[in-house]
């Protein structure tokens, strides 16, 4: 199968959907001629014209608001939010308006829109351009949240997001734009709420999202060399969350680590770990461990930034503790 970059996969997903449905348009900063600073959208304005690939002023709250109104009235906007950190600017329109309109109107109004943005540190971009804020939107009822972990996932999940009739926030990993993966020429969608088992294993389950999927896979390789067999699962969407697949795995392996690049406290690892603990408690040989980013603003200097996110080595270390039964706490 051909291999393409995540960037190209996103571009294809948008182009295919826009060809299919004239109600779709995209808006954001420098999305047209510039094709975004990451060049992900290059070529789209040439095909679809400036009325469907719309360059906005630097007005995140404003163009998010426009998208909500457009979505209520027959359009299907895709909002391009240059950095995930700018979510803080659009929270009111996203969480007070888009997320609640369908419910508040008793189902009369719908808001089919997609916010495409990104997450991930270690790009030396410092505290306001490095956050992974997906837990925040996942906490708000009415929003779906997708976290693609490869070019293949990015294309399939984005296409599904665009067809969904609810607001969806999809986070790409900034560091992955040039990573290639096999992506079929034929059309495919990836359904929301279906986790993917990337690697089967017996001794423990590594549940990893987005940027952390590669980390988990590397950790699983390292563990395999030491005779430990790790199952690796990517939930793909955290809202909806495929509890069943996660639970089945944990019931089999009896041990799990949840790995996510958002801040650890009050983040995604807490939700997944506590659901596993609650629903698979009597199958667990050890507590579910959580590995999120450190609870610190992302520091600029590489000397510190690299310490803040989970690495394959740190995962291996925790996995070994878990398997060795090294978790008994003092009474």
């Amino acid at each position: 199968m051909r291999e393409i970059t995540l960037s190209k996969a996103v571009n294809e997903a948008i182009a295919e959907e826009m060809r299919r449905d004239p109600a779709i348009f995209l808006l954001g900063e420098d999305v047209a001629e510039a094709g975004t600073p990451f060049k992900v959208l290059s070529g789209l304005v040439e095909e679809f014209g400036p009325d469907r690939i719309i360059d906005t002023p630097i007005s995140e709250p404003g163009f998010m608001g426009l998208a909500v109104g457009a979505a209520m009235t027959g359009s299907r906007p895709i909002v391009d939010l240059m950095f995930g950190d700018f979510l803080f600017l659009i929270m009111d329109q996203l969480c007070n308006q888009a997320a609640k309109t369908h419910y508040m109107s008793g189902g009369k109004l719908t808001v089919p829109l997609v916010v495409r943005t990104n997450l991930g540190a270690t790009r030396r971009s410092a505290a306001q351009h490095s956050q992974s804020l997906h837990a925040l939107v996942a906490h708000i009822p009415g929003l779906k949240v997708a976290l693609p972990s490869s070019a293949y996932e990015a294309k399939g999940l984005l296409k599904t997001a665009i067809r969904d009739n609810s607001p969806v926030v999809i986070f790409e990993d900034k560091l992955m734009y040039n990573d290639k993966a096999p992506v079929p020429e034929e059309e495919y969608l990836i359904p929301f709420g279906q986790a993917k088992i990337l690697r089967e294993g017996e001794d423990l389950t590594l549940i990893a999202t987005s940027s952390m999927v590669q980390v988990a896979q590397k950790a699983a390789d390292l563990l395999a060399a030491d005779g430990i067999s790790a199952e690796v699962i990517d939930p793909r969407t955290i809202v909806p969350l495929d509890e069943d697949t996660l639970l089945a795995s944990v019931k089999k392996t009896s041990r799990a680590i949840v790995i996510d690049e958002g801040h650890q406290s009050f983040g995604v690892t807490a939700e997944i770990a506590s659901r596993l603990n609650e629903k698979a408690f009597y199958h667990l040989d050890a507590p579910v461990l959580r590995m999120g980013a450190m609870d610190v603003p992302v520091p600029f200097t590489p000397a510190l930034e690299d310490l803040t996110v989970p690495t394959p080595e740190k995962v291996v270390e925790q996995a070994k503790r878990l398997v060795a039964g090294d978790m008994i706490h003092a009474a």
Partner: protein, 332 residues
């Protein structure tokens, strides 16, 4: 205005009068429901501002859209809303416009082009502007009116969206209802400089109109709506008006921020219903009896609707988890 024109417009005038009366009566009933502890929560009444909503909405088609505010009953009625589902919504009943899930501050009436009241001050500026963008992109000539209070001029979102509306010549009208107060604070203490200059800065054509004069409002609105349809938008209108009650039903002792004689002055000298009724009679377009009849009909309607709403059922408990997400086509 030529006498002939007036006659031929009589039907429209009476509809405007009736619509204003419907708002006035709706609010009196809402207040009663609050005072008799039959309505959950609080509500913000539109009484006094009727000519604004009616003057503008009478210039709109059903497919034209509006966005509304926390003080939204007037816009809802003016855009074609019915009493029964409105009262039912205020009481949290299943027959309400939003199945009881929205309440007074989120009343929406999609079929009549009302995209909803909004409990975030200024929160609908984006929605209205996006609705206009949608109409333009989809090749429809629908116009969107964004209603908001003077207080919403404090919100940056409005400036962001006016800038985009101006850049892209969107068919949207920003209707600023300047009722002199935002909650318990005077407009001049909240808004520096000149109100309309804030839209002019983006190259938007602005107008100021007496919001108590339904004909003045309607004439202006008709012109601007038609120009919007032709791609000459956006526009900004400042409508000077007054709310008769407190900020919400519970705001009773308000002398510390708003003098009694100011209230009296507006109610006696500038009431949109009284003055329009007088004009209609003076022009011989209606008799006193006809006016009384309209009022009586509207009141009877309201009473029936209130009783309907009081008797209606609450939504079933199973509704609580419905509508969090929209339904999807099969295969998704």
């Amino acid at each position: 205005m030529a006498a002939a024109k007036k006659k031929s417009n009589a039907e429209q005038y009476l509809r405007m009068y009736r619509q204003m009366m419907r708002i006035r009566v709706f609010e009196d009933n809402a207040n009663q429901l609050y005072l008799s502890a039959k309505m959950p929560g609080l509500t913000h009444m539109y009484s006094g501002q009727e000519a604004v909503a009616v003057g503008i909405c009478e210039a709109l088609k059903t497919t034209d859209r509006i966005t509304s505010t926390h003080r939204g009953h007037g816009h809802c009625v003016a855009k074609g809303g019915e009493f029964r589902p409105m009262f039912a919504e205020l009481l949290g009943k299943a027959d309400g416009y939003c199945g009881g899930k929205g309440g007074s501050m989120h009343i929406a009436d999609q079929d009549n082009g009302n995209l909803g009241a909004n409990a975030i001050v200024g929160g609908s500026a984006g929605i209205a502007t996006g609705s206009a963008l949608s109409a333009k992109r989809l090749g429809k000539d629908d116009v969107t009116v964004c209603f908001f209070g003077d207080g919403a001029l404090g919100q940056g979102l409005l400036y962001e969206t006016m800038n985009m509306a101006a850049l892209w010549k969107l068919p949207v009208i920003y209707a600023c209802e300047n009722n002199l107060y935002g909650e318990y604070t005077k407009t001049e203490e909240q808004a520096a400089g000149d109100l309309t200059a804030r839209a002019k800065a983006f190259g938007i054509e602005t107008h100021i109109v007496d919001g108590q004069d339904v004909l003045a409002v309607n004439n202006l609105a008709q012109k601007l709506v038609e120009r919007c349809r032709k791609g000459e938008g956006p526009f900004f209108i400042q409508l000077d008006t007054y709310r008769y009650f407190g900020h919400h039903v519970g705001d009773i002792n308000r002398e510390y921020y708003r003098p009694k004689d100011e209230e009296t002055l507006w109610k006696t000298e500038r009431d949109p219903l009284t003055n329009f009724a007088k004009w209609l009679s003076d022009e011989g377009l209606v008799t006193k009896d006809e006016l009384k009849e309209i009022e009586a009909e509207v009141k009877a309607d309201a009473e029936a609707a209130v009783n309907f709403a009081l008797d209606a059922d609450y939504p079933d408990a199973s509704e609580v988890t419905k509508h969090v997400f929209a339904e999807n086509p099969s295969g998704l």
